[in-house]
Amino acid sequence: MSVRTLPLLFLNLGGEMLYILDQRLRAQNIPGDKARKVLNDIISTMFNRKFMEELFKPQELYSKKALRTVYDRLAHASIMRLNQASMDKLYDLMTMAFKYQVLLCPRPRDVLLVTFNHLDAIKGFIQDSPTILHQVDETFRQLTETYGGLSAGEFQMIRQTLLSFFQDLHIRVSIFLKDRVQNSNGRFVLPVSGPVPWGTEVPGLIRMFNRKGEEVRKAEFKHGGNYVAAPKEGSFELYGDRVLKLGTNMYSVNRPVETHMSGASKNLASQTQESIAPNPLAKEELNLLARLMGGMEIKKPSGPEPGFRLNLFTTDEEEEQAALTRPEELSYEVINIQATQDQQRNEELAQIMGEFEVMDQPRRITSKGDDLLAMMDEL
């Protein structure tokens, strides 16, 4: 598995989250200035310098639990609140969207273009904030530096790592079902027509070469697909036509955000294995979470900017109903970290985290990760 996958996973999922939140903020008629503030706060937290530094270090993917917790915190980085049911739905949509994008990338390298599509759109959300724009451009630069020189094989490893993360997720999404990119069994439609990946030929020709490398014979065959040549390559520059549509915003006010929960995977084997296997990375994940929490200002809802609740469903009743009927195998186990109310508490937490990094602990700890997780739960 590739140790360079996490930045791509985080940024693309984050991008999808912003598309969905933007659509719901408009659908719920949240005043423009409040909506802009929410998106600005979330984007600013997402592209926080220290956080990005941590993210780009070569490392294994975080567990689903830890990643879900990160997005939980990210969604609450501003004056907006989400109930558990809405947060669950948001995460379902984010993950299925990016799974679809990874699966349909023509070349493994195209996942970088998908990422750039998300960043291009994010810059559109924060046009009026030069500081945050600079943070995003800085991340662009970091992406180019990290991924620009990777081979096709290394991108294939990244792709396999991502697909492994998304294995067995078959949540049905209304907008995908309507557009016929997803079947009613939750599986995505893989087209067998259209342009071939950039740099490849349309299949249907066999060429035979002699020992000297000279072509001696040609034969055509019926491939079965209906492919055409690729028109042009997407741009990997800071600005440019990405050509690929994957990763662009598919939501709009007229295309609401819905999910069906009944198309869930019946395969529980993989889920159980994830939750009972000891997580040797828990310590690293919590370090990241501590940094994220340290970098976030906690907004007091009663202050000058009163908070509000965003609903991912059309009515409160629907949201309640969703919470009650969510299938067991789809419950996200979020690491239980109490939202701290003041800066001092935050600093205490960061200090505790720091203390645990020192190796000379007197008592036997079987797993530092488990110990930290237990400590976090007690807060």
Partner: protein, 191 residues
Amino acid sequence: MFRRERSIPLRGSAAALCNNLSVLQQRNLTHFGVVHGPSAQLLSAAPEGVPLAQRQLHAKEGAGMYESDGSVMVYWHALDSGDASLVQAVFARGIAASGHFICVELLTPDTSHRHCHEPAQGQLLSAAEDTFVHIWKLSRSPESGYIEVEHCHGACVPDTQVCGARFCDPSGSSFAVTGYDLAEILRFSSM
């Protein structure tokens, strides 16, 4: 021409790894090996694809020996996976029979090709993530002496990113296919 036969259900879906299918024909039993994620599955089937036994193995690099129905692990030889930071994908590279035992070999992939060759018939089976499986015939031209390739048959496995394809018998008259996220082994046989 090939037609779809009855699929064999798997406990876990196939992972998106290269060559993620091993097949061994032993008398009238067929044994399959598929990597799910942190585990690999070894299953045995009777003719017509009737599943008989299925077993989950923890996917570590190495080779193991099992009773011929896959029920009991008799011996495991682990390979040193070297640098722990270079975690790589494992896949079931091979299944072989030795007397009453079945040996499963799990290794890291060093190639992204997905093909399987049946020397008896000169047939080659290839599969790719574009959902297509193709059967080719390799031969040597009597005049020029050059190797020639002829396309025999192509089959689309709808909406499936194929990650493993193997012939199931020495004559190449049947083959099996696995796909990413698919919890079954698809079987095809010639008409």
